[in-house]
Amino acid sequence: MRNYILIVIGICLSLLMILFSANIFESIFYDREFSNEMYNLGLYFEIALLDVITAWLGAFIFYYLINSVRFSRWFHWLLTMLITALFSVATCYYHSENVFISDAMDFSRQLFIFSFINAIVECVLFIVASFSMRSWSSNCRYTPIPE
């Protein structure tokens, strides 16, 4: 029962992240022009969606595809989280940069700062996804911490 509650909460949090992506990102970092463009070009939404998908995918890979005793300690989990975050952030950066370039805009500096925030958000999402889905994993259901 507890496991089902956790996954429902996880899904809800992820959906909220997608739904309120702009508010969440802007509450952490706001730059008038950059934030406005991010919103108008739909990038907040896309990045949040990508974040959520990669976080859940990363967690899924860790907990169900790898699902290995050899790769089940907290530092393995941490490594997976960092790789997921790096992948997600790099993809988001590359994607956003491309969108901006196609619109003849240069926001490299802001994007760089934003990427840090995005990395944190991605990590939080990864944690949410981890705790939502881990209980069904045979080898990693107590990773990173038992309860």
Binding site: S68, V69, R70, S72, S138, N139, R141, P146
Partner: protein, 514 residues
């Protein structure tokens, strides 16, 4: 099914050791359709030689086995699968108010043990003629032998002393608790004193229960299913001029005993003709031509302690084999077994050093899987379990924490039982023929079984402890979903998980173990 197992003399006691290991591995008798039969074993050690080291070791093993089993299964009978599934009880356990018995597996043979032989037969009170007859039949040494070192390879002493059995409290209680479907099995050596003499006496006392005013269940006892393992000479002893025991005697003693058995025990005559009846339902004979590493020549008074031997291991299998013979093949009428069965054992490969692969097919099918499982479990608990605590399945409720390592269950298992287990394996290895089922010089799972390799291939790595944990995790996950174990079920949890996991792993990770 309940079996009263009489272990007579030093060899009988030694056969108990491998049997305990086999039972600990979860080997149970199988019925005709291959299902496990729950087993309750009541070992009765008949050996006046109390100081015998082998006896002490066996008794300890039995005690530890019982403690461990009790921690795992509580008082549960009818356990059909798992390590330590068979229940081992003392006679006292079976008697509702058996306060007059001591809680031990060792048969107290009246007052025999404390006396010298001449005292036992009241030599001094005999008239001169009888004294002279006695002096002819027994040597001076024999008359002066103190009975607590056994019958020092002298069946002539044993046959006199063992007759006291039928009057003992143990025999009375045994007859009380004996039920129709119970079976009796007697293990003895033919070439010694206690065994060779005790075996026919025990059989006769059971078959003649009708004439014994002290016992109950006379009919059931008289017609009980009796199996017997007669161990023929298999070990060598150092030549010692001064010792009453010598290997040269073994053969002649064996011959004469066999003749005696043939006429009075295993083969019966009717008006001088052999008839297909016997006092024993199933007779097992085992021995080995290859002489063992010479044992230190010790008649018993310095604490007889002999290394385990593969013959004992095979001998123990005869007990399980006996339990698997269906009732309708073991008909006894008027204390006489109809169509008795006689069995010997042969190896598949006649080698100086045996592995699990060298037994015959049916043995391999029957025991190899379980023995390997048990050894892997031993390897895991000894080498790796420590590291897994606090991870994976150990965290499932009820959780196995470090405190578990200091429970009496765990210390009994690892500090006592496993130590004895590995000691037993070492002895098997150093003896002649050497029996080396497992590689004792490794702490890895991949090479711990002799002659059986782990499966490898592309992206398929040899088994290691992580694989164990992985399977344990899966099994534990299933179990905790249905809250299978309660908080005081920790030993059961660990052992059931190990049993299920290794059951799976042996099949998955090793090339054919049969």
């Amino acid at each position: 099914m309940r079996l009263f197992l009489f272990l007579v003399g030093g060899t009988g006691v030694r056969v108990m050791r491998p049997l305990i290991m086999q039972l600990a591995s979860g080997i149970l008798p199988l019925d005709v359709s291959g299902n496990s039969i729950p087993l309750e074993l009541v070992p009765i050690i008949v050996d006046p030689h109390r100081a015998n080291e082998d006896l002490k070791r066996t008794e300890n093993l039995l005690r530890w086995y019982c403690q461990i089993r009790k921690s795992i299964y509580k008082e549960q009978d009818n356990v059909r699968r798992g390590f330590f599934a068979a229940k081992i009880s003392t006679l006292k356990d079976l008697v509702p108010n058996g306060n007059s018995l001591s809680d031990t597996f060792i048969y107290n043979i009246g007052s025999v043990e404390s006396k010298k032989f001449h005292e036992l037969i009241s030599f001094n009170t005999l008239d001169t003629a009888n004294q002279a007859l006695c002096s002819m039949m027994f040597s001076k040494y024999q008359l002066d032998t103190k009975m607590d070192i056994g019958f020092v390879g002298s069946p002539n002493i044993g046959s006199v002393a063992m007759n006291k059995i039928k009057d003992s409290e143990e025999f009375k209680q045994f007859s009380n608790v004996f039920q129709k479907n119970d079976r009796v099995f007697i293990v003895s050596s033919i070439f010694g004193g206690t065994g060779a003499a005790g075996y026919p006496i025990i059989v006769n006392n059971i078959r003649n229960a009708a004439n014994n005013i002290l016992v109950n269940n006379k009919g059931d006892l008289a017609n009980a299913c009796i199996g017997a393992l007669t161990v023929l000479p298999y070990f060598n002893i150092q030549q010692d001029e001064k010792s009453p025991i010598s290997r040269a005697d073994f053969i002649s003693k064996t011959k004469s005993a066999l003749f005696y058995y043939h006429d009075n025990l295993t083969g019966l005559k009717n008006t001088g003709e052999d008839i297909s009846q016997s006092k024993i339902n199933v007779c097992y004979y085992i021995g080995d031509e290859v002489p063992s590493t010479p044992y230190f020549n010790d008649p018993g008074d310095n604490g007889q302690r002999n290394d385990a031997h593969v013959v004992e291991f095979v001998g123990a299998l005869s007990i399980l084999d006996f339990l698997q013979i269906p009732d309708d093949l073991l008909v006894t009428y008027n204390g006489k077994a109809i169509n008795p069965i006689f069995k010997e054992y042969g190896l598949a490969n006649d080698k100086k050093s045996l592995s699990l692969k060298d037994f015959g097919m049916s043995t391999r099918i029957y025991i190899n899987h379980r023995m390997i499982m048990f050894h892997l479990a031993y390897m895991y608990l000894t080498n790796h379990f420590n590291e897994d605590i606090g991870h994976g399945y150990t965290l499932d409720k009820p959780s196995l924490n470090r405190g578990f390592l200091s429970t009496s269950f765990y210390t009994t298992l690892t500090s006592n039982f496993y130590v004895a287990y590995i000691q037993w394996l070492r002895e098997l290895k150093t003896n002649q023929r050497s029996f080396v089922p497992f590689n004792l010089n490794t702490s890895m799972l991949r090479d711990c079984i002799t002659d059986i390799q782990t499966k490898t291939g592309f992206l398929k790595f040899p088994i290691d402890y992580k694989d164990v944990m992985s399977v344990m995790n899966k099994c534990s996950q299933k179990a905790s979903k249905i809250n299978k174990f309660s908080a005081d079920d920790l030993p059961k949890k660990l052992f059931e998980l190990m049993y299920d996991s290794f059951d799976k792993l042996v099949g998955e990770k090793y090339n054919s173990v049969i």
